[in-house]
């Protein structure tokens, strides 16, 4: 049996009935761009309005979540901060806590293309995927600190989250702990979490990103990249590694 499609006189196949009549299909769905005031079309409009309304209502909520996100620390940083704070008796006051995520940094990176920026700054923006910092102040500090307990508590919490301590320093009234993810295998997904307690000031910070652009830039422009990296990172905490025995 052979089926022959009906053809119009111009040789073009005729339109489907509901398209040709610009009307409503028998099952009630109205194709977009048609104009008819049938009840089934009203149902579609109502559904669209629900979506629009939900979006309008959700926008402030999403905005609020986004804005508060700038002042909330991520879970590894929170864990590190809590472990230090709970190990040191005394009254802690929050001075500042801020966080910049990948979306904001991506936006800044995009906008930076419209300005003439030095390559170092562009590479830094491309490398950084997120950063956060919290500053706290200790009142009524004890005369001696139990660094052993501080390291133990911090190690325990961070290990649960998959982080291992890379550097630990305790000297006088200074305490430094640096953590990195245990499964660190590539420079494209680097992350680091640091706690520094100096006298009565605690700073917790973390950053994550792709170091590849920075390494490329360093190997192209800077003399000894290791020396430069050391100057940038380690010299920020003077004397930590500059101790012989």
């Amino acid at each position: 049996m052979e089926y022959v499609m009906p053809m119009s006189q111009t040789g073009v196949p005729p339109l489907l009935p509901w398209l040709a009549s610009n009307g409503v299909v028998p099952h009630g769905w109205t194709p977009p761009g048609t104009s008819a005031g049938t009840p089934s079309r009203r149902v579609f409009r109502i559904r669209a309005w629900y979506v629009v309304l939900a979006l309008v209502l959700c926008l402030p909520l999403l905005g609020a979540i986004g804005i508060t996100g700038y002042f909330r620390l991520s879970s590894p940083t929170q864990a590190l901060r809590s472990s230090v704070i709970e190990s040191v008796p005394g009254q802690w006051d929050k001075r500042f806590a801020g966080r910049v995520g990948g979306l904001t940094l991506g936006l800044v990176w995009f906008i930076s293309h419209f300005f003439n920026m030095p390559p170092e700054a562009e590479a830094a923006l491309a490398a950084l995927h997120g950063a956060e910092v919290g500053v706290y102040n200790l009142h009524d500090a004890p005369s001696t600190l139990d660094y052993s307990a501080m390291f133990l508590a911090a190690d325990k919490r961070m290990r649960r989250l998959g982080w291992e301590r890379t550097v630990g320093v305790a000297r006088g009234r200074q305490f430094v702990a640096v953590y990195m993810p245990r499964n660190l295998r590539t420079v494209k997904r680097m992350a680091c979490c640091v706690a520094v307690l100096n006298e009565e000031d605690l700073v917790v910070a973390s950053a994550r990103g792709n170091l590849q652009p920075l390494i490329e830039l360093a190997t192209q422009h800077l003399g000894d990249p290791c020396e430069r990296a050391h100057q940038l990172v380690v010299d920020g905490t003077p004397g930590l590694f500059r101790r012989g025995f």
Partner: protein
């Protein structure tokens, strides 16, 4: 019916095996790695520095110097772990750390580590050990130092490294104790003589 009885046993056996594998895997040590044990910071103002550089960071350091210093990159790529502990000694912990250092030295000697440097000068006591594979390749280096009455230093570098490269490694990773031990290993003859003279 039989399956009903067997299944709990099978699940139990598999769970126990998995737990055992995980437990042994977690404690598995690399060839050339030394378990110095955990070090606690001294109470009071005493100094405590612990640096644990994993393979990922060593690879990163190698990437940084690959173009300009290929020999250093080659050295770094041959390493798997660098661990350095510096503990300040005081009246409370001095005796304990001296005993501990002595025990670690004995353990290393008992486990086939070759003592390649012994330097004793005044109150400084440096011992450097190498762990060699059967074919002569270096698997790791360990150093135990008691620096007078001030510091105890424990170093373990896992991978292919020669004692004379320690100073360079310390320089590149910016770990001063490694540099200091490296300097000591570069002139062991002189220091050994001083020991004899004393």
């Amino acid at each position: 019916m039989i399956m009903k009885h067997i299944m709990p046993w099978m699940i139990g056996t598999v769970t126990v095996c998995a737990a055992a594998t995980l437990a042994f895997g977690a404690n598995e040590m690399l060839p050339g790695q030394v378990d110095f044990g955990a070090f606690a910071p001294p109470k009071g103002e005493g100094e405590f520095v612990e640096v644990n550089v994993p393979t990922g960071l060593i690879t990163l350091a190698a990437l940084l110097v690959e173009k300009e210093q290929p020999d250093v990159a080659k050295l770094l790529n041959g390493l798997k772990l660098v661990r350095v502990n510096v503990i300040g000694l005081d009246a409370e912990n001095r005796a304990a750390f001296q005993t501990r250092a002595q025990k670690i030295r004995e353990d290393l000697a008992g486990k086939g580590w070759e003592r390649i440097v012994t330097a004793q000068q005044k109150e400084q006591d440096v011992s450097v050990y190498l762990k060699m594979a059967d074919k002569g390749a270096v698997q790791g280096l360990a150093a135990v130092v008691i620096d007078g009455k001030e510091h105890a230093v424990f170093v373990n570098v896992v991978g292919d490294i020669k004692p004379e490269q320690l100073a360079m490694l310390g320089d590149k990773l910016h770990i001063d104790p490694l540099k200091e031990i490296g300097k000591t290993t570069q002139k062991p003859q002189h220091k050994s003589k001083e020991k004899v003279e004393e």
